[in-house]
């Protein structure tokens, strides 16, 4: 499945968005990542990102655990992206069926649990090794300069 990847440019010009198949995620150079996108679901600003395959579907794990910012309130998401499907509820038009699990602790757990089921952060069991790329803390101005450069997308682009 297509993955849009925005690398982090700490200064100077922003890098162009990279469009890869998720199977090649582990082949990316070891550089900082600012955002990734599958099915128009932008996962950005995390400390760590990984993508693995589960029965052919990409599974993204992104999490925040930098003690300088997230001490006692680490949180992350595990997101599985099955292919778009013809949704009978909408007359057969294409729809997503993204499966998202959120893991959190402390204040982050309180906030996420108020919105829906949330598991303890310690159950996330984040991956390690070659398939993990890190994010980089940026100033707000620099971060939003990156955000402003993200392309307009539609989940139907993943058909």
């Amino acid at each position: 499945m297509r993955v849009l990847v925005q690398f982090t440019a700490e200064e100077g010009d922003l890098a162009p968005i990279v469009d890869i198949d998720h199977e090649f995620w582990a082949d990316l150079p070891v550089v900082f990542v600012n955002a990734i996108c599958l099915q128009a679901f932008w996962i950005k600003g995390f400390d760590h990102y990984s993508i693995e395959s589960e029965n052919g579907d990409p599974v993204v794990v992104a999490w925040n655990d930098d003690p300088a910012q997230w001490e006692g309130q680490r949180w992350g998401q595990r997101v599985r992206f099955p292919p778009l499907f013809s949704d009978p509820v909408f007359g057969g038009r294409l729809n997503t069926r993204i499966e998202i699990e959120t893991f959190a602790e402390g204040a982050a757990l309180d906030a996420w649990a108020a919105q829906g089921p949330t598991r303890p952060f310690d159950e996330l069991d984040p991956p390690s090794g070659r398939g993990v790329l890190d994010g980089l803390q940026l100033s707000d101005a620099r971060f939003y300069a990156h955000v402003a450069a993200l392309p307009h997308v539609d989940f139907r682009d993943w058909a």
Partner: protein, 209 residues
């Protein structure tokens, strides 16, 4: 019988709420789709969209008890957000009967399900919904709220006005009457097959702090 109001790109300012986009819920589906990207959604929440019917629509003093439906087309969003027709942070979201002058909610009902957290087409049923009696000039409103659940800064969501975004209910008389949402879907499918699905992207509210 039912009446369906489609989320349109036509402005319909409302004094009831301050939403980033305030649009008409029209009796005919738009002939092209338009995307509105709403930014600046932080942990306080934000009313991202209000869709309100035109004057004298749905044209009923006694809204029937029955099944009402709101559908949303969300082409894209950030993963730290949730949204829906329910309060998000301090921002209200709901299906409402509003005064003809668009200066007051007369009656509101929030979605029963938890907030949405992914992009896509979203169906929000209001089953066996009852309403107090009112005036034939009362209008219907779908108010969409979103919140960045945790962390600093702000995030964004895109809402599309097209035939997949709608409000439907068992009203009768005037306007666009159908035998239900299936009929509305057939109408939309017909339009889409005519290749008039031209998307324009409009970015609102570039404030991101």
């Amino acid at each position: 019988m039912a009446k369906t109001f489609y989320h349109s790109p036509t402005d319909q300012p409302t004094g009831t709420h301050a939403a980033d986009i305030e649009k008409l819920a029209d009796v005919t589906p738009p002939s092209e789709s338009t995307d509105f990207t709403i930014t600046g959604i932080n942990t306080s929440g934000k009313i991202v969209a209000a869709f309100t019917s035109a004057a004298n629509e749905p044209g009923s003093a006694a809204w029937p008890t029955g099944d009402y439906l709101v559908e949303l087309d969300v082409p894209a969003m950030d993963s730290s957000l949730t949204f829906g027709l329910l309060t998000q942070g301090t921002a209200p979201g709901h299906l409402a009967r509003v005064a003809a002058t668009l200066n007051a909610d007369l009656e509101t009902v929030a979605q029963a399900a938890t907030a949405f957290s992914t992009p896509g087409l979203k169906s929000i049923p209001f089953s066996s919904q009852t309403w107090a009696s009112g005036s034939s000039g009362d209008r219907v409103e779908a108010l969409v709220a979103a919140v960045k659940v945790f962390g600093h800064g702000s995030d964004s969501i895109t809402i599309r006005t097209d035939g997949d975004g709608l409000i439907s209910g068992p009203w009768s008389g005037g306007g666009n009457q159908t035998t239900g949402v299936q009929a509305a879907d057939a109408e939309v499918a017909s339009i889409q097959s005519d290749n008039v699905n031209i998307t324009r992207s409009i970015v609102f509210d570039t404030e991101v702090a």
